[in-house]
Homo-oligomer: 246 residues x 2
């Protein structure tokens, strides 16, 4: 076995989304035995201040907290870093400035998956801070795509769902509510959707949505495996539904 990179994970933002990322990474790694999986160093730090507490990029203490986590992971042996939270990428520059190892952006991983000849009007299912920071709007514009966003009532409804998911709620009602929000972006003319918040796949599978969905969590998994030189396995696509979220 050739030497593989140790992957440092900035996590806990939120907790269940981090576990979901790890489960998807493990399920997508072709590994008949434990020893063929990637080594991960996970700083699961839910104490990072709320990223939506004020305008993204300026919430007090978030940048220094993420930078400290990144430095700790590098010091502990991480060869590359990822962060399981779209909104927190508003502080990506603080992270990159804090370490010498590469940082794989979930935003880049996601928009890079958009086919050049594919849909141009992209519904962005994202949290307040992520949108305020313009993370997907800029990345989509750079690729000639147009973001389709919720109007304020739908955006507020989405945030309420995200906080319920973070509080541990799951189930058919949440899935239906999330699917309805996805529908509203289709009605507004979106041709495809980005699940641009790592809480979304905890309740919504692509089968629940009215349009093709680019799931940021899965695309970060793919980018991580590609960085490590691992050909992605059948992964969660080959698993039962109940296994998908594991």
């Amino acid at each position: 076995m050739t030497a593989r990179p140790t992957v440092g994970v900035l996590g806990g933002l939120g907790p269940a989304a981090t576990v979901d990322f790890m489960a998807r990474l493990i399920a997508s790694t072709p590994a008949p035995s434990d020893q063929e999986h990637l080594r991960l160093l996970v700083d699961h730090n839910p104490a990072v201040p709320n990223r939506h507490g004020t305008i993204a990029g300026r919430a007090a203490g978030v940048g220094p907290a993420l930078a400290a986590m990144a430095r700790g992971l590098e010091r502990a042996g991480a060869d590359v870093l990822v962060m399981v939270c779209n909104t927190a990428h508003a502080w990506e520059d603080d992270i990159r400035a804090a370490v010498t190892v590469p940082f794989l952006s979930i935003i880049d991983a996601t928009v890079d998956a958009l086919d050049a000849g594919g849909p141009r009007r992209i519904g962005v299912m994202a949290a307040d801070g992520c949108l305020e920071a313009g993370l997907y709007q800029r990345a989509l514009a750079a690729r000639g795509c147009e973001p389709v966003l919720w109007r304020p009532p739908e955006q507020a409804a989405f945030m309420a769902l995200v906080y319920r998911i973070k509080a541990g709620e799951r189930g058919a009602e949440l899935t239906a509510a999330m699917a309805a929000l996805a529908d509203s972006l289709a009605v507004q003319g979106a041709e495809a959707l980005i699940a641009a918040c790592t809480e979304i796949p905890l309740v919504l599978t692509p089968d629940d949505a009215p349009l093709p969905v680019f799931v940021s969590t899965d695309l970060l998994v793919s980018r991580t495996l590609a960085f490590a030189g691992i050909a992605q396995g059948a992964g969660d696509g080959a698993l039962e539904e109940s296994e998908r979220d594991r």
Copy 2:
């Protein structure tokens, strides 16, 4: 919020079991927001040599590998350590000798849950290395309990199931096979069972078993929360079945 300990997790032994522990810990933590969850530092290191490769406690390189992980977690800021693997507790002394922070044993957490007035003949569903090291046999004997173990063909069948679970297999056939092995301990006179391998709850819920099951993963979760001074929430018991393993 009072200062809570950062929990260092020796993980990756195997990968899915570590994710399962994290999911159960998160689900059992009463936390309406991210910020109320425990901080975890997880060294998810699947490269630790196979713990069943030779007689437990003497497999080449395991002790030093676990000691190095423990030291790294302490250095990174862990205030207490846990390890999501029963068999690897054969090297518990190496871990304790490597660090100054406390180590919460999954073996102790599990046998301490046995009621003094409860069942005395305890079926131990454990992997080869765990049994060869005598971890549960000694702990049960110290509490006046008698371990009930599989005969060689059932033990071999269990190991085959464990390796299939580690390779990512799930589903009804595996659950039925695991339940049949649980049945065989009941037939041998066990009055309760210990799921003494962290791969077991990935396919078997207590409802699938013919006897009360003490799930070592859950009992390590409870001990971790107790150490942190957190009153355990409804946890996975309040979740749907499909959520249990998350």
